[in-house]
Amino acid sequence: MSKRIWNHPEVPQDETTVSWRSPGQLRDTKEFRTWMDREFPQGAAEMENQEEMETSRRTFLKLMGSSTALAGFGMVACRRPEAYIVPYTHAPEWVIPGKATYYASSMPRAGGAVPLVVTTFEGRPTKLGANRLHPDYEGTDAFAQASILDLYSTSRSRKVLKNGKAAKLEDFQTVLTALKKDSAAKIGFVFGADESPTRLRLIGELKKAFGSAKFYQYEALTANSADGVKLLPDFANADRIVSLDCDFTGVDQHGSNIAFFNRRKPEGRGYKAKANAASMNRLYSVESAFTLTGGMADHRLRVAPSHIAAVAAQIARELGAPDGGIAPITDAKQLEWIKQLAIDLKASGAKTAVLAGSRQSAAVKQLALGINKALGNIGTGVQAFQTENKGFGDIAALTADLNSSAIETVVMMTPSNPVYDAPADLKFAEAFAKAKTSIHLSDRTNATAYASTWHIPAAHYLESWSDARSSRGTVSIVQPMILPLYPDCVSELELLLAFLAEEGKLVTGEGEDGAPAPALEAVKKTFSVDKTAWKNLLKNGFAQDSTYPSATPSGGGNVTAEASSAPTKESLDVIFATDASVYDGRWIDNGWLQEAPDPVSKLTWDNAVLIAPKTAKELGIYDEIIQLETTFASVSPDGEGEKRKSPMITVTVNGKSADFPVLVSFGQAENTLIIPLGYGQAFNADNDLGLDAKNEKFTGLVGVNRGFDAYPLRTQATGYFATGAKIKLTGEKYPVALTQEHNAMYGRALAREISTDTVAHKGDFNAQLKNVRKQGMDSHAPVNISLYKQEDRDGKALLSDPLHQWAMSIDLSSCMGCNACLVACQSENNIPIVGKEQVAKGREMHWIRMDRYFATHKDNDFDADSPAMVPQPVGCMQCESAPCETVCPVNATVHTEDGLNAMAYNRCIGTRYCANNCPYKARRFNFFDYNKRNPLIKNNLNRGPLGERHDKEPNHLQKNPNVTVRMRGVMEKCTYCVQRLKDAVIRQKRGQKQEVLASGKQSPDVAVSNETLRIPVDSVKTACQDACPAEAISFGNLKDESKSEMGRAKKLERNYDLLQYIGTAPRTSYLARVKNPNPEMPDAKFIGQATINMA
């Protein structure tokens, strides 16, 4: 990873610190101010004045905003205004103007912190990448990628609130001081489910300081563990994996999946070996909704949520594990399916893993544990860890204590939003109101914030010192990249420390008058290591060998659970699903996540009840079953594009009712409703249904009017799913914005799939491999040959660069279709969000379009309504023979010598001809000034110059300074992150100088070879590749041939060009997906054939 320069420039020997940004090191406040100065002089000048601090901070931000925003709009003024260069007065170490600095940090969250590398420009974090040195390296998911936007979020909480009114931090100080005095105070501390050693240490001290203090842990969708034992799959050792409704590749965090995905590649990680089916793992999935994991599964069984336990029990029964006395399954097909599954499991013995969804009932978890024990895979396929995450009260306990006033003061630090998302039957809000003092620390002014007596704006994890444990327990550092943008922001540790400090003195950000920041001291104390160790800790971002101790899970004995009857259309099952965009609702104000389409339903900006087509028909929601593939590509009954409107239904369950729009979704269990949680937190007057404004203040512009709230339907007992639901049409229609309206491939072999099993007429695995390039039309269409010799005036080849020829390959076998790459691209390339209306029209700007296709086997008699799901990320293919180029009248898009399809924004006049002529439709046009005019205000874009601007808002500070911010009227598209390529190539140019120095000769006497100038193999990564949690994307230099991963991938038989028939010779190619079915399974002969039978 030479892209990541860890410590540059070289550390002077006497150097005592690595992270100059840490306030602790910047002892001299003045220095720090001057550093601020150089970035944005005028604003900082005001900040000298302490009184106006608060106001000046805002202007300061405006200035930051404008100066970055200006960077984009590529207009040349003929008369140049006088501009100033403002250097540091005292140069801070480590800052080289215009050069990115990289820091190791990590994002704390339940299920394990995400190890990160943060890119900063002059101290301004702009991009998050995966830390590949970290033992729990797991790439990044969409949430991690998008979390940087929260730092600059316009709706971020900036001020202290007292009973919902603006207050001063000083006033809050008095509260703390008062609390501190009373050591018998009945304080309850509520934390998130993430783990932090320092926090744990402080909790210990707090217990001493406050005798009657209580400690709770709450996250809406994460259950508290009693014994703190954590079961994680070890995919490296798991040949057979069974997922009992466990979406471990998606929203159900189970640690790193790198090993899993690499075992989806027949050639293994890095494509080093020869394709070998035996090396692949096999995934069985039993689930209700269609999840990404289900999409990856080799065998997928769709059953109602209430039926999962029965299936688990049946498996247990087959394997002789305790079956909880649940009645056997009756359905013959399912029985056979489970029987064969069990046989396969038994055969693999310890090299198996059976995973139960973390939100599943205790019964299912116990059954799964039982099965694992029966298979004896604990310690091999499944590993048990002893975490320190135990002994916390849960939300129920908290409610009880509040009601019984065992707790009078609550300090609410959980990232969740209990007033909004606690189980309805707890009536938490009422209990919460009983607290004498409630202190809420959060970066959002959400429902809980306004329900509390005190709301304290939380510092972002990129602004605060802390530490966290990654999925397998490795202690990882959380270090600040920048001082809190807003003076009132307080980090969790700082607040806890205040309770321990004398007089409860709350110290935020830097230490007082030059003293080291308390938070930093606290973290240091936890580690208590010497300077060099500490330095390495900061440098690598983690402490070596600090994983959890292994444990022996208890339980798995005979559990008792009763099988509930299968759902009918009178009594439906409802799943309260974790949402891929807003998780439990905490991300509702994140524009990137909101606009990223749901990986399965492709819905943006909203949630909707997902329902299987047949069920929908039976319930009379649609007169006709929505076909997956209609003969004439007709428009669905809901309409298409901006005209698309879904019918509203009222869902009644647990005695409560709520309205939702409904979407048909293929392949999910019949008679089951899937309702994603976390939406409908706030409404204003502009909402599409004309509802009255409600809780307007709880979200910002991004989160307002987004979807509908399902939490009121949810009780403690039915935390994951409920039964006995009824629905009825309200007669209303609700506009929904989908990025993909047609879900089938319509006979076109686009996302290709083969099977390790022999397929009729297609031969065995090897035969199918050989035939990948001949699927679909390519089986009979002749190859295109150009009449032209591709050379210039002097007979030189057009793509003449002897050093680099960039290319990419995307492995559909490990790509699951999450949005990590899409969001990573958005943050790397300054891609604006465009809002719901624009997305509905079809104007989303994502450079990567995550296509997702369903494919049914025509004579599937096992379960005809359970299609395969194949994702296909489509960006610019960088065609060698690019149709877009030839049609541009002004030469705004031409090819570079190193094989990129370049796009010169400042030359583009916006004829949009190129986009028409792009077969992959990979080009995006700035129909409006999305970067300047706020697309989230209703009808704002159409008001043009009169429209409200948002280019001076802080969120523009996230922009990557090396990428032009596009103005309206220009075309844009994927560039293979050309700015990163440039950076790598230019850095390599210094190689010459080094050689000269080494040789001791004069430079003219040292000939420079191509090898000197060619960047090291696989040393540059595109943003999507860097983010990918599945290592599905490999990018590199064709000149490295088989030395580079991409080079090896291109040589595989699985490698094919999308739409090869046109002869565009794309540089991005795909590796066909390989399914590894169990030949004995009843559905085996329908697996892996999404495209194989097309011609």
Binding site: Y788, K789, E791, L798, V894
Partner: protein, 185 residues
């Protein structure tokens, strides 16, 4: 104001029809006049022959004009696309073989230049615009653009004689013969 001197332009005679004009024209031609013209509301066919006019040389102008257009277009395209700044588009060669792509523009410019040559060539040959002309001073001449057929013989012609010419005109069937004069400035 004092009487201004007048300069004689020539005789203007009207004829009753195209046929009459035609015959008269032949006579005038045969009488060997040079500086004279027939004025008609529409182009009368064959009158050129009757007047002994040569075929217009405009086509030659236009031919060269058009060629200039072709050359210009080719030069423009070839120098910019191949010589000065060749760009790689859709893997198409940036050498002599890219020329077919220039044909449309070459064609259009040929037409454009020809068109302009026609316009300006014609104006030059007709010596227009000329807004002032002695004939406009004539009382009847305005009918030349309506339904009048006229012959005007200029005084500048060597064969012109105040009486002889008038007689000639009347004898070849000219009516309302008028001596057209213009004021000497």
């Amino acid at each position: 104001m004092s009487t201004t001197r007048k300069r004689v332009y020539g005789y203007l005679a009207e004829f009753k029809s195209a046929s009459a004009l035609y015959k008269a024209a032949e006579k005038v031609r045969d009488a060997g006049f040079r500086k004279w013209d027939c004025y008609t509301p529409y182009p009368v066919h064959g009158l050129d022959a009757a007047m002994g006019l040569k075929r217009s040389i405009l086509p030659w102008f236009v031919f060269f004009g058009g060629m200039t257009g072709t050359a210009t277009a080719f030069a423009l395209a070839y120098t910019t696309q191949v010589v000065i700044y060749p760009t790689i588009v859709q893997a198409k060669p940036t050498n002599i073989f890219t020329i077919p792509a220039f044909f449309p523009v070459m064609f259009e410019l040929t037409i454009l230049f020809s068109g302009f040559t026609v316009l300006f060539g014609l104006l030059a040959l007709m010596q227009l615009p000329r807004l002032n002309h002695p004939l406009f001073a004539s009382k009847q001449f305005h009918r030349a653009t309506d339904d009048g057929f006229f012959i005007a013989i200029e005084a500048r012609d060597a064969k012109f004689s105040p009486d002889g010419t008038r007689d000639l005109l009347s004898e070849i069937g000219g009516e309302n013969i008028e001596l057209v004069e213009e004021e000497e400035k």
